[in-house]
């Protein structure tokens, strides 16, 4: 780039005093589609003059001139006729330039010490689609010619497409907004940074906005279909930064409801309990996202249970995104780029879960140079290394994290002192750009948790995931993404304390999936997505086996479960007018439980108990037991009411075939999964939502209000005293339940200025009801009761105050109604001690929750030449030492019932985290 500027200024300089001098010599030339090199070589040989030019600027110029006995200037006139190329002759030196360079005045500051790029006059450059060149457009005031220049005469439209990337790392930027004011049209980049815009041919200015980068402009002249890659510069050094969030504009303009994107930068600004940024806790600041307690990373979205969320890490399905029983989320913050949570408008390409999709996107490895970072915390440390394998083509990124929490356990009383806990997780991703049209991606993830209790019970769980994706761009309007992957979650438990009862318990769920997703941009009014996916599940719901020679444990192996979930989908985002956009899609889902297996038939109109089994059907391996066919509808629409004000409405329905069996308040790593089969119906849900969106202060403040109403059917609940583990006929312990959830969510986000952050308030309710007439007794006599995570009032504020570029303060305030609990209402004596009899389910609540946190971020100084940059995070979690009830319980101690309230983080907890970037 530097050289280019230099060249331009050289041109100014020369042109200023060079008078056009015509060489007297007459020449004969015959160029047929000759390149500039050929022309120049020929002319230099014939005239002895010397040409100065930048070959790059002329690389797509083809010269066709046939002339005899013409002066050099005449030949150059002919050669550059009807192009923007120009020449200047200064004695023996001939300067070739482009655009209006020759006619312009000196640039401002030219006589100063440093040229200011922003003041550079425009130059043009031709990019010819046929030449297969894709331009790296980095200069704002340069005019980029896109397409075949000869097509300029034609009218109509052409499509420009390409990637938006970060200039330093070459990493694609997802969710950037490209807007063309004169055509009043725009596009967003997808997860690969790809965009496609169809514009009238001619001159346009594209503005590109993305959070954390400089606002950018590109001037183009569109001749025909062509490619333009845009590199954005990270916004770091400007003194008065004005960040324009892509989300904000998207918030008002996109037809989607209940979708929020958070980038890692804002996640890192939320104080976390042990100082390490926690992705799953960060989403709890969003409206409509609840959690049952502090020590769990489970989250409940708009009244759905925790297993109704699909958690994806670059397309890998993470079954248990938590470490250490939920104290830490299993995502390494150093490799995460951003997260996107879909609460209402779930795109057609996703399915299989009722409540939400949480898409965690990892960063791509730096394509230019090797870099890395490391973080040290109180309990965990992490490392990340990335870099090119083949520069600008192939890159990798590696992230690893581990804990040294044993010191914590050593502080415990004797009873736990011999316990040990450890965990780690690794990410390794590769990106390989085969050519302009083909890119390969490899994603892999491994997490593992080990816990040893009092040296006789060991316990571990692990996620293992791998996926390969191939992205192929057919043309500017169509691209496809084909991926295949394998995801596994497993846990094991081993107890050797009592040699006779020593056992091993193993569980695992495996899924192999294949997906093909296509995006088609026929014109600016339509964005069409379509594709298919197929997931094959294999589930070992429990292998209970003896451990050791003395053990008398009988093997108890729950038969393998298999299922195939397939889907075909198509959707269209249709910009009906400037003000109205409709997005409509359909996802046809087919689920087949597969053999081998034996399915019991129960007597009709009698409770489902083993003594009412009439007969049973045995299926052979891979034999289809049943076909559940469920079409799903995804509808949403947006209407602009005014400048930066829009109203949206949406409806969708969803089905879930994979269930987590859990009758505890929070799900735990050893809960068992269950696939739908003829006796276990899929869960069904639908949601209608309505929202009002308004952006203020040039899109720096984003506000929204959304209301929703949701129905859930065949939600799983359990019989009193249900046995969920090692159960060979789970249908006898399941009760199908109906649920309803509704709420109103207020959201405000500010991303510019000294104070940035999120504020949200939600009023929401979630009720469940058991209405199965065959089950007795019904919870609450078959009336609605509040769900465990029904917290009507919830307020969140998380803000960051930037004192300077290096110092910023973060605050966090959380308030919510206490979650419902079932309390004892009367007592009695039985089996030697006092016992309690419980109220109707969830009739009471634990005390309200309130917490405030504070942290200080000290960033490195901005001396670019420094090889390493250090940053510190120092803070206090729960400053007020609020003793929030994590749980309450009534227990008999020495024969007397006592009520207790348990708080986990009951005191202000200081933390410190050290990060180094190299």
């Amino acid at each position: 780039m530097k050289h280019l500027y230099l060249f331009i200024f050289c041109c100014f300089f020369c042109c200023d005093y060079a008078s056009a001098q015509v060489a007297g010599k007459l020449l004969d030339v015959n160029y047929q589609k000759a390149s500039i090199d050929e022309v120049v070589t020929d002319l230099e040989a014939k005239t002895g003059n010397h040409f100065y030019y930048d070959p790059v600027l002329f690389d797509s110029l083809k010269v066709t001139v046939q002339a005899s006995r013409q002066s050099l200037s005449n030949i150059l006139e002919l050669a550059f006729k009807s192009t923007d190329y120009h020449y200047a002759i200064n004695g023996q030196e001939i300067l070739l330039t482009k655009g209006k360079v020759i006619q312009t005045d000196l640039a401002d500051g030219f006589f100063g010490s440093k040229p200011l790029p922003g003041k550079a006059a425009a130059v043009t450059q031709v990019f010819d689609e046929k030449e297969k060149t894709t331009t790296e457009a980095t200069i704002e005031n340069k005019i980029y010619d896109v397409g075949l220049k000869s097509a300029l005469t034609g009218k109509g439209t052409a499509t420009i497409a390409g990637y938006v990337k970060e200039i330093k790392t070459g990493e694609p930027i997802a969710g950037a907004i490209l807007y063309v004011p004169d055509a009043k049209t725009g596009a967003n980049t997808d997860q690969f940074g790809f965009y496609s815009l169809t514009l009238p041919k001619g001159k346009h200015v594209i503005t590109i906005r993305y959070i954390g980068t400089r606002d950018a402009k590109r001037q183009i002249v569109l001749y025909s279909d062509g490619k333009l890659n845009i590199d954005l510069q990270e916004q770091i050094q400007s003194l008065k930064e004005v960040k324009i969030s892509a989300d904000k504009v998207a918030n008002v303009r996109s037809p989607q409801l209940g979708v929020t994107r958070m980038d890692i930068k804002s996640i890192k600004e939320i104080p976390a309990v042990f100082g390490e940024p926690d992705i799953l806790r960060a989403i709890l600041v969003l409206p409509g996202v609840q959690s049952v307690g502090e020590a769990t990373t489970n989250f409940n979205v708009r009244g759905g249970s925790a297993d109704q969320n699909l958690v994806l890490l670059d397309g890998l399905t993470i079954y248990n995104p938590a470490h250490f029983f939920g104290f830490f989320s299993a995502f390494n913050p150093d490799i995460v780029k951003d997260i996107e949570l879909y609460k209402a408008s779930i795109p057609e390409r996703f399915g299989g879960r009722l409540s939400s999709v949480l898409e965690v996107s990892g960063r791509e490895g730096n394509k230019k140079k090797f870099t890395g970072s490391a973080g040290l915390g109180i309990l965990t440390s992490r490392l990340n290394i990335e870099g090119p394998i083949v520069k600008d083509k192939t890159s990798f990124i590696f992230g690893g994290r581990t804990t040294y929490s044993n010191w914590l356990l050593n502080l415990l009383p004797e009873a736990y002192k011999h316990s040990k806990a450890s965990f780690y997780d690794f990410n390794f991703d590769l990106t390989h750009q085969i050519d302009d049209k083909n890119t390969l991606y490899l994603y892999s993830y491994l997490s593992n948790d080990n816990f040893k209790l009092n040296s006789d019970t060991t316990y571990n769980y692990s996620n293992k995931n791998i996926a390969l994706k191939w992205k192929h761009t057919y043309n500017n309007k169509l691209y496809g993404l084909i991926s295949a992957g394998f995801d596994r979650y497993q846990y094991g438990l081993q107890s050797d304390g009592n040699p006779i009862n020593a056992y091993k318990l193993n569980f695992n769920i495996n899924q192999s999936n294949f997906k093909a997703d296509f995006s088609y941009y026929p014109n600016n009014q339509h964005t069409i997505t379509f594709g298919l996916s197929s997931t094959y599940y294999k589930l070992h719901a429990g292998n209970f086996e003896p451990s050791g020679a003395q053990s008398l444990v009988r093997s108890n192996i729950v038969p393998v479960q298999q299922g195939l979930e397939s889907a075909l989908y198509a959707g269209d985002k249709f910009d009906v007018s400037d003000d109205l956009t409709v997005s409509a899609g359909v996802r046809l889902m087919i689920y087949n439980p597969l053999g081998p297996g034996t399915i019991n038939n129960y007597a009709p109109n009698l409770p489902r108990q083993t003594n009412y089994i009439i007969d049973s059907v045995t299926y052979k391996s891979n034999q289809v037991m049943q076909t559940y066919f469920n079409p799903e509808i995804r509808l949403s629409a947006r209407y602009n009411l005014g400048d930066n004000l829009s109203v949206k409405a949406g409806y969708n329905n969803l089905h879930q075939y994979l269930h987590l069996l859990s009758n505890s308040t929070a799900i735990s790593p050893t809960d068992v999964f269950q696939l739908s089969n003829p006796n276990v119906k899929p869960q069904r849900g639908d949601q209608i939502s309505l929202g009002l969106y308004k952006n203020l202060k040039s899109n720096t403040i984003e506000t929204s209000v959304e209301v929703y109403y949701k129905r859930i059917r065949d939600y799983l609940d359990y019989r009193s005293g249900a046995m969920l583990q090692l159960n060979h006929h789970i249908e006898t312990d399941i009760i199908n339940t109906e649920g309803k959830a509704y709420g109103i969510e207020f959201f405000m986000r500010k991303t510019a200025g000294k104070l940035t952050g999120i504020m949200s308030y939600t009023y929401s309710r979630t009720f469940l009801k058991q209405n199965d007439p065959l089950v007795q007794p019904l919870v609450n006599n078959g009336d609605y009761y509040p769900a465990n995570y029904d917290k009507p009032h919830s307020f969140n504020f998380t803000g960051s105050y930037h004192i300077s570029h290096r110092y910023s303060f973060q605050f966090n305030f959380v308030y919510s109604t206490g979650r419902p609990i079932t309390l004892p209402i009367s007592r009695f004596i039985y089996d030697g001690s006092e016992r309690v009899y419980y109220s109707s389910r969830n009739a009471y609540r634990i005390p309200d929750y309130f917490r405030s946190d504070f942290s200080l971020n000290i960033l490195p100084n901005h001396v670019i030449a420094k090889t390493t940059h250090n940053s510190w995070t120092i803070g206090v979690y729960n400053i007020t030492g609020q003793q929030n009830a994590y749980s309450t319980f009534f227990t008999q101690e020495g024969g007397v019932i006592k009520g207790y309230k348990l708080s986990i983080f009951a005191a202000p907890i200081p933390f410190i985290n050290y990060n180094i970037i190299f």
Binding site: G293, A295, T296, F325, L408, L412, S419, A421, F451, L453, T457, S495, N498, I500, N501, L505, L552, R554, S664, T665, A666, S668, T670, S720, P777, V779, I821, T822, L823, P824, I825, S826, R827, F828, I829, Y830, D831, G832, R835, V836, Y837, Y838, R841, Y844, Y886, S887, T888, F889, F890, T891, Q892, G894, I897, G899, Y900, K901, L902, S903, I904, F905
Partner: protein, 392 residues
Amino acid sequence: MKKVLYLSIIGAIIVVFGCRKAFNPVIDTADVNILVVEGMVNTGTDSTIIKLSRTVPIGNKTTVSSETKAVVTIETAQATILTLTENARGIYVAPPKTLDNTKQYRVRIRTVNGKVYLSDLVDAKVTPPIDSIGFLVKDDKLQVYANTHDATNKTRYYRYSFRETWMFNSNYPSNFITNGKDIVGRTPAQAITTCFSSDTSAYTLINSTAQLSQDVAFHVPIDLIDGTSEKISIKYSILLRQQGITKEAYDFYENLKKNTESLGNIFDAQPSQLTGNIHNIADATEPVIGYMTAGTTQQKRIFILKSQLPQSFVTKYPYGCELDSAFNGPVPKDRFHSAYTIETLIPIQNPIQSVVILPFTSLAHETGWLFTDRPCGDCTLRGAIKPPYFWK
């Protein structure tokens, strides 16, 4: 099994950062007044005892509300075979009577308000004998366990209860007593230094061997005693009672245990309805708490001596104790600003509730008595002097 892990981890975190505080929510004390039936039909050589009571609102001070004046009978499907009489308030007893173990039994209860309750018919289960009771040292605690087996592999589900008895000393031995005039030596009948105390199991103890290939119960945890406990300060005895139960009864007890002994943690199961096998014959929806069982029971007793236990087990007396002095003559004011004189110890109901331990003579040749607070010198506050009949 997993519960233990979670509790431990949550426990771990609580110890480091957390806290546990009393929680007494305001509870709407609706009129919940449920019949509670506890007991078994003993087909062996023990009495059949059935206890009837009513639940009391959680906020009430009263703990027990006995159901008196009920008519309780035991019957087979065909005939009434036993009528129980109310021995104490709410406790209905029939003397031992050997019954046919191949039959099914049920209990019929007619309460004083005229309602009739009937249990389901239950199988009589013959309980195998307890093989042994043992103990092992687990960190700083004493774990008492039981071993048993059933060669016919029929029992599978076991319920235990126990009565433990222990000998203990007061912190200071007292060989002197006031007779109202003087301090005199204690007679053997006035001894208050060594006592016996006892307690019953306060937790539901159940065990299942259903997951094992043989009906062998090995090292079933019975009681966990702190190494510092007074129970094992001299000699300890436990009488363990074992009862074979049906799977349904086991499920009931497990539910009972879950509902009151481990709840409230977010990883614990939510409270569930306690359903037994006793119903109001006129209204099946009326909740009744209790599960009737039938069969025989087995008992075994062992003794554990202090000498069998590790030296690291040091008994911690439940109270902080100090000796004080009372002078026979006037208090030497030059050295003691305030002290007691013997007059304080003389009245039989002395105002400071003290127990005389020993006479003393100071270096200055003053004499007097050392004394201590009653809880530190009188074991009868917490036990009985008379050894139980089985003590050896």
